[in-house]
């Protein structure tokens, strides 16, 4: 058989092959832009910060510096970013779980409509939403002007903006509309007869919620938690606009290293460290969850 015929037969006889072929362009694109780019970043993180045009020299200093007293600022910001992201994740879940619950169990008509209506804010420009919180919280902003106007306070509150609380509030609000969806979906999927069985066996509402509803909704909640936490550790816009000095996060430092501090290799190193620590935290988290599940005998 000629080569051409052989190839033709291979193509038509092999379904798997055709599937991979269709997938290839997209896969390749994502691979290059994600993986190859990441490798480039890693390589760059080992460079000495020489002016462009000079020879490339390699060093471990970018990383080792972070462990010295000189790198304290970086460590502080890393911990702060992790902490703020955690706070924000928890408050998003606490804030959105009730509404997701209400939508799943107590709304019977036009569920889809309400779902869309509630998630629309998420799709509106993130930048604008952070900006609107700046407008609300600032010294001569909405909250102060209302409180002053109503006579509740005599002087504008100064501590609403440019701190960590502002960052957490803004981030919570920005992501709330998003988190509703996965939590809603996993609540919606719960077999109602399970809940009826629990009631039938004597559970009050609270007990049933704690023992049946909540655990069964966990997949959606955990998915949302992971996504929120991972994405927000490196946030830039919110701390930049409403964080001030005390609310600065690691993302701001990285951008600053790339721009006015002009130390790209260090910026690369800090980014890599952030990613590694984040991966570590997530892995530990997943293992804990997995471990607890096995302990309880639940798969």
């Amino acid at each position: 058989m000629s080569l051409r015929r052989r190839l033709w037969r291979l193509w038509f006889l092999n379904e798997n092959l055709r599937g991979y072929f269709l997938l290839l362009p997209t896969l390749l694109f994502v691979f290059v832009m994600l993986m190859v780019a990441l490798v480039t970043l890693v390589v760059q993180s080992f460079w000495v910060n020489n002016p462009p045009g000079d020879a490339i020299q390699y060093t471990l200093e970018n990383y080792s510096m972070l462990l010295t007293p000189h790198g304290e600022m970086y460590r502080v910001l890393l911990v702060r970013s992790l902490w703020l992201s955690l706070l924000m994740t928890i408050s998003v879940i606490l804030f959105t779980y009730p509404i997701a619950y209400v939508l799943a169990f107590h709304v019977h008509k036009h569920k889809v409509f309400w779902l869309i209506a509630i998630s629309i804010p998420f799709w509106i420009s993130y930048l604008l939403r952070v900006f609107s919180w700046k407008v609300i919280l600032q010294h001569d902003g909405v909250i102060n002007s209302i409180l002053l106007g109503l006579g509740i306070i005599n002087e504008p509150l100064d501590n609403l903006l440019h701190n960590r609380t502002a960052v957490v509030i803004t981030l919570t609000h920005a992501w709330a509309a998003f988190a509703i969806l996965p939590i809603y979906v996993s609540l919606e999927k719960i077999d109602r007869t399970l809940l009826e069985a629990a009631s039938d066996l004597g559970d009050s509402f609270m007990r049933r919620f704690w023992r049946v509803t909540l655990p069964l909704s966990m997949p959606g909640v955990l998915g949302a938690v992971l996504l929120l936490f991972i994405r927000n550790v490196g946030d830039y816009v919110t701390p930049a606009l409403v964080g001030g000095v005390s609310g600065t996060m690691l993302g701001n430092l990285i951008v600053s290293l790339f721009t006015d501090m002009d130390n790209e290799p260090l910026a690369a190193a800090v980014s890599i460290v952030m990613m590694l620590v984040l991966t570590l935290v997530v892995c530990v988290f997943v293992m804990i969850i997995g471990g607890r599940k096995r302990l309880k005998g639940v798969t």
Partner: protein, 370 residues
């Protein structure tokens, strides 16, 4: 025109998906203008075989010839075949006219000519005013007819049908069985259809190929398949049949072709030898169809076999009744089917638990060796 040359010739074709051999070394000839059925249970490989005829699968080994030309490596859009899919595959975004004329879009025909052909097709399928109906407005039977028209308008040499009547309700199915046969006669081309419903195959086909686990186990006309299945598998697959196992007592001498077998507790039974080559002591099976049996109170006379049994149940099906009996020495219940020629009040029924004779003419039995 050499009418002796088969329209389709399948030669040593096998197809496997991974470790599973769906079609295992199948060879088959289908004549011109034949209404041919491929009958098998799900998983027998019949659909895969049909898809290979259509071009959607390529055989791993062997070759398929249509009118003498090898077609295995010709893609479906270039083959002289057209297919009616099990789900009918009516394009939901096109109306009836657009669906039917779809296959003509590539052929350089004027709009007027296309319209003419579509009108002719609409007449043929007896839906003359349906041209502008939307796809979702069609009932199951109407979809099938549109699918037929869409395929036939391309003037294929062979029309392939995948479980054509499966999605229709019983009454419609019976109607369509006749309609399809008439259509085939009218259009005058080879039809090959695949089905798991043996009644459908028996009613519509000129010849049937019975498939099981990728192999063809018998190809014959409906009558031959039913009356003289070549082995137990085919016998059980087509219709219902009673199987009585035993050993050969005496082979026939030259004067008669009746064989006597010893069926253990059931007794000694006579059966025509048929085409079988057997020797004394061989293990054989006597097969007899339920409708050939009669329930009587008297022992059988000459020319009849008879066995004793106890009635355990009767099943009434309107035009016929089924009777089930326990027979000493038979592992499965004996099944008898008789037409209800007389109304229930008049029909004499054996009482349950009564011992009766079940008799049948010797020549109604069938000897099977495998």
């Amino acid at each position: 025109m050499p009418s002796s040359e088969p329209m389709i010739s399948i030669s040593g074709v096998s197809k496997h998906f991974g470790p599973v051999k769906a079609v295992n070394n199948v060879s088959l000839d289908i004549a011109r203008n034949e209404f041919f059925a491929i009958l098998g249970a799900s998983g027998s490989g019949k659909t895969t075989l049909l898809r290979m005829l259509a071009g959607f699968e390529i055989p791993n080994t062997g070759e398929i010839y249509i009118e003498g030309e090898p077609v295995s490596e010709i893609r479906p859009n270039h083959r002289p075949t057209n297919m009616v899919f099990q789900s009918y595959a009516i394009f939901p975004h096109l109306n009836v006219r657009e669906n039917i004329s779809y296959g003509l879009l590539n052929k350089k025909m004027t709009k007027a000519k296309i319209n003419e052909e579509v009108d002719a097709m609409l007449e043929l399928i007896r839906l003359p005013n349906y041209g502008h109906r939307a796809a979702h407005q069609l009932s199951g039977g109407e979809r099938q007819r549109v699918a037929l028209a869409r395929a036939l308008i391309c003037h294929p040499k062979v029309l392939l049908l995948d479980e054509p009547l499966g999605a229709l309700d019983k009454k419609l199915r019976e109607e369509m069985q006749i309609e399809l046969r008439q259509l085939q006669r009218k259009v005058g081309i080879t039809f090959v259809f695949v089905t798991h419903d043996q009644e459908e195959a028996l009613t519509m086909a000129d010849r049937i190929a019975v498939m099981s686990e990728g192999k063809i186990i018998q190809v014959d006309t409906p009558g031959t398949l039913y009356e003289t299945p070549s082995n137990i598998e085919v016998a059980e697959f087509i219709g219902n049949i009673n199987l009585l196992r035993g050993t050969v007592e005496s082979t026939s001498d030259n004067t008669s072709d009746i064989v006597v077998i010893d069926a253990g507790q059931v007794g000694q039974l006579s059966v025509p030898k048929g085409q079988n080559k057997i020797n004394s002591g061989d293990s054989v099976v006597l097969a007899v169809r339920p409708e050939k049996l009669r329930i009587t109170t008297e022992a059988p006379g000459n020319g009849y076999n008879g066995i004793r049994g106890k009635m355990i149940a009767e099943s009434y099906a309107g035009d016929r009744s089924y009777y089930y009996l326990n027979v000493e020495g038979l592992s499965r219940r004996l099944r008898v089917a008789n037409l209800n020629e007389y109304p229930s009040a008049v029909r004499s029924k054996a009482n349950e638990d009564e011992e009766v004779w079940v008799v049948w003419p010797i020549e109604s039995g069938l000897l099977l060796t495998a």
